[in-house]
Symmetry: C2
Subunit: 223 residues, 2 copies
DNA sequence: TAGATCCGGAACTGTTCAGTTTCGTATAGA
DNA sequence: TCTATACGAAACTGAACAGTTCCGGATCTA
């Protein structure tokens, strides 16, 4: 069993090494770039999404990244740390207020969030999440990395949209922002993980019109 | 890797064997009871909840059930089938209409569903679910078994309560029953799996008052 | 071109675990 | 009591895989 990623006292080393290597020792025969890192991390995420943590082997990651296993271990001390790093380095999408849609209505904003790109991205993240679940309960670092990289970005976007709707007087100020901000993610993970059904545009629209908007006093339950 | 449970053409054999063994061959020196089955299945669920599918070893299950590994393999052809059987044989709680609370209000009914026993049971099921996720995407039988034993009972209970509320005119008939019936489960799994936070009475009450009731036109968003 | 360094590939080690086999024992029916 | 059978325990087999080691070639600097 590989509980190894569980209790690490060395997780500090990771970032430390990264910084050090990137800046120091320019005297040598070659830049100590770790040029292959992005390829390897991307490969790790791919394999993770496809096979899950337990099904993922270092061989698979190496092969997919056209690298040698040795290269992986030169850079990360274990499979667990590689995965944590891969999650942490995920490009965690749109968090900035100004990049968010602002259509004037909550429904407009929520619907505007559903772009093909977003659905694709979301599905991939759900799959990665699914692949992580067994490990998450054993590794606090991994749980935190996943929360920051996958859950928070979308949750905080939703929080902002809801708050704007409150500010403009569109919805009541005492609605349950915290829960509502993660409803769609929860339902999406449930759908992918448990029901094995696709998460598509219709699903999200149905959620907005059937749950979120009614829950803030807009939509069908009032009409 | 143990994808074994994936494509089985023999899952019929399971129940067939059960029935056959229970009734046939009373000629022998001992009833062919498979007396140890319940202990073993219970042990399997325990280990599953604690360590997940990948972490669970046949040794653990045998030890916990005070049985030998050989006994397990005499009864089930593989680890995958044992797990499927364990899930399928789970006592899937209150599904009958008459056992459900009927307090006269939707809120009363939903709150009445939250008994300490239910929370405990729910938490255990969430953990088992968490332990299954990696395998669910590879085994349709397992996915189906989990849906029937874990998801459906509660979802259909919620559907009934919502329908009753509609019938008595308490809530609008065009509310999104299908989605609302799985909101609390989705959020609970999300909370356990991803956020690693406890699922307790307050959480469920918060969900009822902050999401479900507002979404059907009752509760804070209307008041 | 020479020297240092990084990389990919491939062979290797050790462990874990699913599944098997064997054996001594307990038990229920004749 | 005798006999057939199910059982627990323990040893065993074989495969998969994390992590290591070694080497030959590529690439950059001087």
């Amino acid at each position: 069993m590989t509980l190894d990623a569980g209790q690490l006292d060395t997780e500090q080393l990771d970032t430390t090494q990264l910084d050090t290597n990137a800046e120091a020792s320019p005297k040598l025969g070659r830049k100590r770039d770790h040029t292959r890192d992005p390829d390897i991390l991307a490969a790790a995420l791919d394999v993770l999404a496809e096979t899950g943590y337990e099904g993922m082997t270092m061989e698979m990651v190496a092969t997919r990244a056209k690298a040698g296993k040795a290269t992986l271990y030169r850079r990360w001390p274990s499979k667990g740390e590689l995965v944590i790093d891969a999650i942490a380095c995920m490009k965690h999408g749109d968090v900035d207020r100004d990049g968010l849609p602002d259509t004037g209505t909550l429904r407009g904003d929520l619907v505007a969030m559903i772009k093909p790109h977003t659905i694709e991205d979301s599905t991939r993240k759900m799959r990665i999440m699914a692949g992580l679940t067994s490990m998450i309960s054993r590794s606090p670092e991994l749980a935190e990395a996943a929360r920051v990289a996958i859950v928070e970005p979308r949750a905080s976007a939703n929080r902002i949209l809801l708050q704007r709707a409150i500010d403009r007087g569109e919805i009541s100020a005492d609605c349950d922002i915290e829960n509502l901000a993660v409803v769609s993610q929860s339902m999406a993970i449930f759908r992918v993980l448990v029901l094995q059904e696709p998460v598509n545009r219709d699903f999200f629209i149905g959620l907005i019109d059937g749950v979120v908007l009614p829950a803030v006093g807009l939509g069908r339950a009032r009409s």
